[in-house]
Structure formats: C-alpha cells, structure tokens
C-alpha cells in the first residue's frame, strides 16, 4: 500500500492527448471491508497546501474562492479514469473535462490581452 502511495503521489498526470494536467498533489484513500484503496487523485494548490498544513490548504481554497475558482477544488480525478500508471499517470479524460486548468484559464484572461500572446 505504501509503495502505491509513493508511486502515485507527486507523479505527473497527463490527459489522453498527452497534455499536462498537473501532479498528484493528494490522494483520497477509502476503506470499506477489504484493504484500503485509493479512490481519488487530487490535483491543485489547495491539496498541496494542506499536505504542508491543513490551514494552508484552507487558506488557498479561500483565495481561490475569492478569485472565482470554486468548482471542484481541488480537482478530483477518480481512479476509474486512470488508464496507465508508469513514469506518468495517463488518464482517459481531457484537460477540458476537468477543472485542473482553472488557474491557467484565469491567468489566460489577462495574458491573452497582451500583444504577442498568440
């Protein structure tokens, strides 16, 4: 179990077109009757922050909310969507089907206005 956590946590995640989705910043582990298993991969600064300290995670979430990023934070990817775990984790989704691009989109609104950004 610990090996799986080590192999999965901090690994980079790519979508089915090979686009970067981020790194596994956190994982959700559930246990019913059988052995504990990973159910969800978390991606986003809030998950990363709460790994250092829960308060930091809450702070990041609050900042995101102020900026209007409030849907599915941190981004959750079900392990059912994972296609392959190797040097990178490949998932069946695309970036657009998830919320991993929220910060990128927020900043793009400003950056796309500058000359030469295309």
């Amino acid at each position: 179990m610990m090996d799986i956590v080590r192999d999965v946590l901090d690994t980079s995640v790519v979508d089915r077109n090979g686009r970067e989705m981020g790194r596994v910043d956190g994982i959700v582990i559930e246990q019913d009757d059988g052995p504990p298993r990973i159910t969800t991969l978390l991606i986003g600064p809030a998950a990363l922050g709460s790994r250092l300290h829960p308060a930091l995670g809450r702070f990041v979430t609050r900042v995101e909310k102020l900026l209007g990023i409030d849907r599915d934070r941190p981004s959750k990817i079900s392990v059912r969507d994972v296609e392959e775990v190797d040097r990178k984790i490949r998932v069946r989704l695309t970036v657009g089907e998830t919320t991993v691009g929220a910060w990128e989109q927020l900043l793009r609104r400003w950056i796309a206005k500058l000359p030469g950004s295309q």
């Binding site: 901090d10 980079s12 790194r23 990363l48």
Partner: protein
C-alpha cells in the same frame, strides 16, 4: 550541425555563473587583496559548476526531466519544499542584485542615478522574455557576452608573469588575513555555483530537445561553456591583481573597480567595464526570472516552455513576470547590490548540500540516467566538497561579518 551551436547554452549559463554582479565583485576583491593566490578557487568553482551542470544535462537528456521535476518525483513535495523555498529566497536576492548591477552599469554610462535604471532594466528583461524564444535569449545573451572578454584582453595586455599565475592555481595559505582569504574563497564558489544555473541549464537542454545521443554534446557544452565564464572571471581577477594589488586598495564600489581598466583601455575604461558588467547582470537577471517559471512549472506540473505561445503557458508566464516584478520592487527600494550579493552568496553555499546531495542520489538511478550513472568516485568527491564548502561557510562567514 545545429547541435554544435548548443555551446551557446553553456556560455549563457556560464555568464550567469561567472560574469555577473556577485562574481565580478568577488574576483575584483580577491585580486586586489590577495594577488593571484585565489585563482585556484575560481578553478575549483569552475570544475564544480561544470560537473553539476553536466549531470543536470544528463538527467534532462535521458529522462526529459529537470532537477525540479526529478526531485519532486523522487523525494516528494515534503522534502522539496525546503530546498525550493531556500532557492526562491536566494534567487529573489540574486535577481535584486543583478538588476541593481545592471542599473549601476547604466549609471556609469549615463551619469544618471542608479535607482532610475532598475525599472527600465527589469522591463527590458521582461520584453526579452515575453517576445523572445529560447534561441533568441541564448544567442542574444551569448553574443552580447563577447564584450566581457575585455576582462581577458585586459589581463593579457598587462603581461602578467606566467609563473606567478601558475602558482595561483595551487591552494596556499596567505601571509595575512586568513579569515578574509577563506571568506573570499567561499564567496568565489558561492557566487559561481548558484542552484538556479543547474535547473536553467537542464531546462535549456529540454527546450532544445536533447536526447541520449546528445550526451557528448552535453559534456562538451558543460565544460567548454563554463570554461568561457571561468576565463573571464580569471581575467577579471588577474587584472584587478595587477592594477590594484601594488596599491593595496580595498575595492568597495563598482566605480572603483572600473578603474582597473584604465591602464589598458584609457578613456574607454569605464565604458567597457560598464558594458561588461551590464551585459553579465542583465543576462543573469533574465536567466533567474525565466528559471522561476521553469522551476514552478516543473515542480507543480504546469505546461511550460519559452518556445510556446504565451497564452498556452499562462501560469509559466505569470511566474517569470512576478519574479521580475518582485526583483524590480525590492531593487528600487535601494538596497545596496553589493550587500545583497554578499548575503545571497553566503546563503547559497550553506544550502548547497540540500541541493546537491539529493541530486547525486538521482545520478545513480536508472530511472533518471539510464545506464549513464555517475561513478562512485565522482559522486563521493562532489558530496564531500559540497559539505566541506558548507561547513567552511558556516565558520568563515560569521567571522568575516562580526570578527573584525
């Protein structure tokens, strides 16, 4: 054929290492106060930086990962936050000092106060990053860097004694001020081997799509490139030793330092010195800012790359822009670049083990370097030198600051 020109990556990296505000000031002080006798420290710093850059390039060529990415994957975020946090503090200080150095250079050329030039210099750096691609940055800074050879030419024209120079490459204890001597030796290494250079070099290798076939190019680039910067730094030290040494001058300002060009270049002295300093500092500032984007992008798994459309890498663009803005704001507040340099150099040597040791672990793992692992001897030597350097810094720096 194009790959041959990749030497530019080595030269650009070496400008950030050897020909910027920190290295120029330490070389001038070393030469003025101790003649040629600290040349060995420049040589040691060169080998150290070249060996580390070669490793960073090797990991990048084989695994397509920079240091920041590899360390996060291998050691996890909890570990990484410590060297990463330290590196960002140091890089902010360094960037402040480089912008200050570039501003001082423009002040020497124009006579108008240096605080006025921080913002224009920073904005120029941002324009280069916004509109340029990796080759423009690399070739541009590399070509401008040729002006810094005026240090080498100056040393040459002063006809130093070859035997004296050769003796400078053998470490020896001075007859006076042992603490100051050790402090300068540590500073020379600390000013040269900045952690950001390694990640910058590795990211450059990824931007230029090096593969396992390019490992020999990597070796040549790392060693010849650093050789360029090293030659300039040695030229600077030798010139300072020949001009200031006999007068027993302690050099405290860049205006003073520029006087070392007078015997060779006459009325062009200040102009040439200012251009060399300005180009070196500007290049280093661009590299530090760009590397902030690289490090964050790689460690956090963003899309990144200076050759991509800016709107497609918004977080990466925001990261290098904020880094520059940060440096501009702090530098405008008017901190003395020499003092800021001193602090960042000292911190660099102290955190070096945190940066280098995990990296050496990676160099033995097939996952990152394939069959091109480092030998036990090389790893052991680098690890020992790093730790010794840090220990020496911890002893010497407080002695220098509070001792006298």
């Amino acid at each position: 054929m194009k790959k041959i020109f990749n030497l530019a990556l080595g030269i650009v990296t070496s400008i950030g290492g050897f020909v910027e505000v920190g290295s120029i000031s330490t070389s001038v002080q070393a030469g003025a106060e101790f003649g040629f006798s600290l040349l060995w420290a420049v040589a040691a710093a060169t080998l150290f930086l070249a060996a580390l850059a070669e490793m960073a390039g090797r990991v990048a060529a084989v695994s397509k990962r920079s240091m920041a990415a590899a360390v996060r994957e291998r050691f996890g975020f909890h570990f990484q936050i410590v060297p990463l946090g330290a590196e960002f503090i140091i890089d902010t200080l360094l960037l402040t000092a480089e912008l200050g150095g570039a501003a001082i250079a423009i002040k020497m050329l124009t006579g108008v106060g240096f605080q006025w030039w921080v913002l224009p210099a920073g904005f120029m750096a941002w324009l280069l990053l916004w509109f340029g691609n990796f080759s423009v940055i690399e070739d541009g800074v590399g070509l401008l860097g040729i002006v810094t050879l005026s240090f080498v030419l100056a040393a040459w024209r002063l006809h130093p004694d070859a035997g004296d120079i050769a003796r400078g490459f053998l470490p020896s204890l001075p007859h006076h001020d042992i603490t100051r001597y050790a402090f300068l030796a540590v500073s020379i290494v600390g000013a040269t081997v900045s952690p950001y250079l390694l990640n910058f070099y590795a990211s450059g290798a990824i931007e230029e799509k090096w593969t396992e076939q390019d490992l020999w190019i990597n070796r040549v680039t790392a060693f010849l490139g650093m050789g360029f910067g090293s030659t300039v730094a040695m030229g600077c030290l030798i010139t300072a030793a020949m001009v200031f040494g006999p007068q027993h001058l302690k050099v405290d300002t860049y205006e003073q330092a520029a006087q070392m060009f007078v015997p060779v270049y006459g009325r062009w002295a200040v102009t040439l010195f200012a251009l060399s300093l300005g180009v070196g500092c500007f290049g280093a500032a661009v590299e530090i800012a760009l590397n902030a984007g690289y490090v964050l992008g790689q460690a956090l798994g963003w899309t990144w790359g200076i050759d991509r459309k800016r709107r497609d890498v918004s977080r990466f663009v925001a990261a290098f822009s904020f880094m520059l803005l940060d440096g501009i704001v702090i530098a405008t507040m008017g901190f003395d670049p020499l003092r800021v340099t001193l602090i960042s150099v000292a911190l660099t040597v102290v955190i070096m083990p945190l940066v280098v040791l995990p990296f050496l672990v990676l160099m033995n793992e097939e996952q990152y370097v394939g069959r091109h692992t480092s030998g036990v001897f090389g790893n052991g030597l680098l690890a020992t030198l790093t730790v010794l350097g840090a220990l020496m810094a911890i002893v010497v720096i407080p002695l220098e600051i509070w001792g006298s």
